[in-house]
């Protein structure tokens, strides 16, 4: 299906276009911009606010030109007041608006944690369901060129811990558009985390408005030997890893979680039941995070495993600035390949061990 396909590059997409001339290819950032524009034009209660949303660059192009199109009242620059402005959005949402709040970096979200955790996430429950908070908070993970410790964090795990929040991390242009639209219509506070390296990724995106349902993972590649669960940018690394492993005769299934909370454990469990092997690749740190949660769900389901599970994550350290350390810091395709080999190898060794053991 064109909308579940990951295209390695624009050339690859253009090739696909030859067979299916109906495909409409736009970039991830254009997909976000398009979804936002359509939400603004179809729903008067939607507004966009954030530092630099009206800037000439338009938050890496994702809000470019929206202010000219929809006016200063509905697309507004914000003072540098993350906690306050988040609270303003929470209040506006309680009073019937649907704000899209944009942050240039995920690292600036911690300033607004009070409003996110203590207010947005609690308001519906704490008042017995009498009011809801339809709010999308977009933020971006930076990477590279010495972004360093305060401009590169993947903080999804922190938000996964909070009941009342939803967390999405689209990996493709199709999902970016569909999830953003679904998120704003969902009626709950949704944390949407984008990865800067995805912005120029091209994929098929229909022009009309559509929703990608929250809480639904997608199988990017079917396979029978090992399951790789990945999120965001790591989905692309995982697809490439799976292609390379195919040549070695290891047939991987790649699952893109898309929504981290609520997590689609059914899709993951079904896959691991089949393969018996699981690798989870996340953009963030290891402990109490995406991998830990996926594995817990698999364990709770009592899935029989053929080998120990492996997580691919950032090393246990803040992001270093030096190019020498940055290079060593980020895991990628090769680490996923190694991880899968480890699980597959383990299975083989065990099988050999069983085969070679003396029959009693």
């Amino acid at each position: 299906m064109p909308w579940t396909k990951i295209y390695g590059s624009r050339t690859e997409f253009d090739k696909a276009l030859k067979d299916k001339p109906g495909l409409r290819g736009i970039t991830y950032k254009e997909a976000i911009r398009e979804a936002t524009a359509q939400l603004l034009s179809t729903d008067k209660s939607v507004f966009v606010i954030g530092e630099g949303v009206d800037d000439s660059g338009g938050v890496f192009g994702t809000t470019k030109g929206l202010q000219e199109e929809f006016g200063k009242e509905r697309v507004m620059d914000s003072p540098l007041a993350e906690n306050g402005i988040t609270g303003v959005c929470v209040g506006a949402a309680a009073a019937g608006m649907k704000p899209i709040l944009v942050h240039m970096r995920t690292d600036f979200l911690p300033i607004s944690l009070d409003q996110i955790l203590n207010h947005a996430a609690k308001w519906h429950y704490m008042f017995g369901g009498s009011v809801n908070i339809p709010l999308v908070i977009r933020s971006i993970i930076g990477r590279g060129w010495g972004s360093a410790a305060q401009h590169s964090q993947s903080l999804q795990a922190m938000f996964m811990n909070i009941p009342g929040l939803r967390v999405i991390m689209p990996a493709t242009p199709f999902d970016a558009k569909g999830l953003l639209i679904a998120a704003l219509r969902d009626g709950n506070p949704v944390i949407m985390i984008e990865h800067r390296w995805l912005y120029d990724h091209v994929g098929h995106v229909p022009e009309e408005m559509y929703e990608v349902p929250l809480g639904k993972a997608v199988v990017r590649k079917a396979g029978k030997d090992a399951t790789i669960v990945a999120v965001s940018h790591m989905v692309h690394e995982a697809v490439q890893a799976a292609e390379a492993l195919q040549d070695e005769g290891i047939d991987c299934e790649v699952i893109d979680l898309r929504t981290l909370k609520p997590m689609d454990s059914a899709t993951v469990i079904e896959s691991v039941r089949k393969t018996g092997r699981l690798v989870v690749a996340d953009t963030g740190w290891k402990e109490c995070a995406v991998g830990a949660e996926v594995m817990a769900k698999v364990a709770e389901a009592g899935v029989a495993l053929r080998s120990p599970l492996v997580r691919v994550n950032l090393p246990e350290a803040p992001t270093p600035a030096s190019p020498a350390l940055e290079k060593a810091y980020y895991p990628g395709k090769n680490d996923i390949i190694e991880a899968v080999r480890k699980t597959a190898g383990h299975g083989k060794r065990q099988a050999e061990h069983i085969n070679n053991s003396p029959v009693l």
Binding site: E51, G52, D55, S56, G57, D77, S78, P79, L80, A81, E82, N83, G84, D107, F108, I111, W145, G146, S147, A148, A149, Q150, H151, P315, E316, A317, P318, P320, A321, S322, P323, A324, L325, E326, A328, Y329
Partner: protein
């Protein structure tokens, strides 16, 4: 010169201070311009936020600080640290991501530290350094030290709640702090008037029962005078002051290029402010009044050039950190 100094209320100012002001501004300017020159080589692999055009503020404030006084700064921190006495070598090496950098290559240009000169680290989270600076002042007052803490931040940081919370606490406890707001009218590409209704930053001091000064941040003597009063007040237990110094950043928010080409700001605005160059105007004044000679200025330039050349050579020749360093220093380990 006396007539001019009288106007500022600086009648006892010595020739040495005038020279030091000139020297400090020039050293910052030349340092930043060296980065502009080298950045296209793409060996300095980190974002750089240059303070060209704003040098008078760091120079005018830091001349009043002792070595043990604290400075807290932000993403645009090269000038503050240089003016406080930081050497060029560890900074340059840090920007090149080298092991010999002030943060062992872990921080890059946004995260400078120089404990010896009272710089306890610069934050790239806007407003992040403000409460920390107040905390350092609290520590020094609890320890009975005479230190003063200067906190540099931008007009953008004045939007942040952290500023108000911190200023209130500093005022409440009469802490020895000088809040220095470098108002360059922009936070990235967002104009002050798009973020603040009043645009009278220094006035806010009054509601905290503290002293506010609004000065021309491109006039080193005006900054020097305001800082003199603020530091003296802080040192004698009179509590915090807020200096708002109006200025302009010549380069784009980040990187070595001017940003009018990208439509971020009008070119005429930059042209106007280039006319207000703090170094150009101060140079003219010093020469006109005979407070410094061309030869002395040339000497300063060549000395700074020498320091710069050494720093760049040092940075380039230094090794990158070893991969094992990746997992070092995540936690402090008490020395046994």
């Amino acid at each position: 010169m006396k007539d001019i100094l009288l106007k500022y209320g600086l009648n006892t100012l010595t020739k040495k201070v005038l020279n030091d002001l000139y020297w400090s501004m020039l050293r910052i300017r030349m340092f930043e311009e060296k980065i502009v020159e080298l950045y296209p080589e793409q060996e300095m692999k980190c974002p750089v936020h240059l303070c060209i055009g704003q040098e008078a503020i760091a120079a005018g404030v830091c001349l009043h600080l002792n070595k043990s006084d604290y400075v807290f700064s932000n993403h645009r921190g090269h000038g503050h640290c240089l003016a406080k006495g930081a050497a060029m070598k560890p900074l340059m090496a840090e920007f090149y991501g080298k092991e010999t950098g002030c943060s062992k290559g872990k921080g890059g240009s946004m995260h400078i530290i120089d404990i010896e000169h009272g710089i306890l680290g610069t934050s790239a989270i806007v407003g992040g350094g403000i409460p920390m600076g107040v905390g350092a002042a609290l520590a020094s007052s609890m320890k009975g030290e005479e230190s003063v803490t200067a906190i540099f931040f931008g007009d953008g940081a004045f939007d942040e709640g952290a500023f108000y919370e911190s200023f209130n606490f500093a005022s409440l406890k009469k802490l020895p702090v000088v809040f220095v707001c470098e108002n360059n009218f922009y936070a990235t590409n967002s104009h002050q008037s798009a973020r603040q209704s009043g645009c009278r930053i220094s006035d806010s001091a009054a509601s905290f029962d503290s002293r506010g000064h609004c000065v021309d941040g491109n006039d080193p003597l005006a900054v020097y005078k305001a800082a003199q009063d603020a530091v003296a007040l802080a040192r004698k237990g009179g509590g915090p002051s807020l200096i708002e110094a109006k200025t302009y950043r010549w380069k784009g928010h980040v990187g070595p290029e001017e940003d009018w080409t990208k439509g971020c700001r009008p070119k005429e605005e930059l042209d106007y402010w280039k006319e207000q160059c703090p170094i150009k105007k101060f140079t003219a004044l010093l020469l006109e009044k005979g407070a410094m000679t061309t030869e002395e200025m040339e000497q300063a330039k060549s000395a700074i050039n020498g320091e710069l050349a050494e720093a760049v050579a040092f940075a380039k020749a230094s090794p990158y950190p070893k991969e094992a360093a990746l997992l070092e220093d995540v936690y402090y380990e008490a020395k046994k």
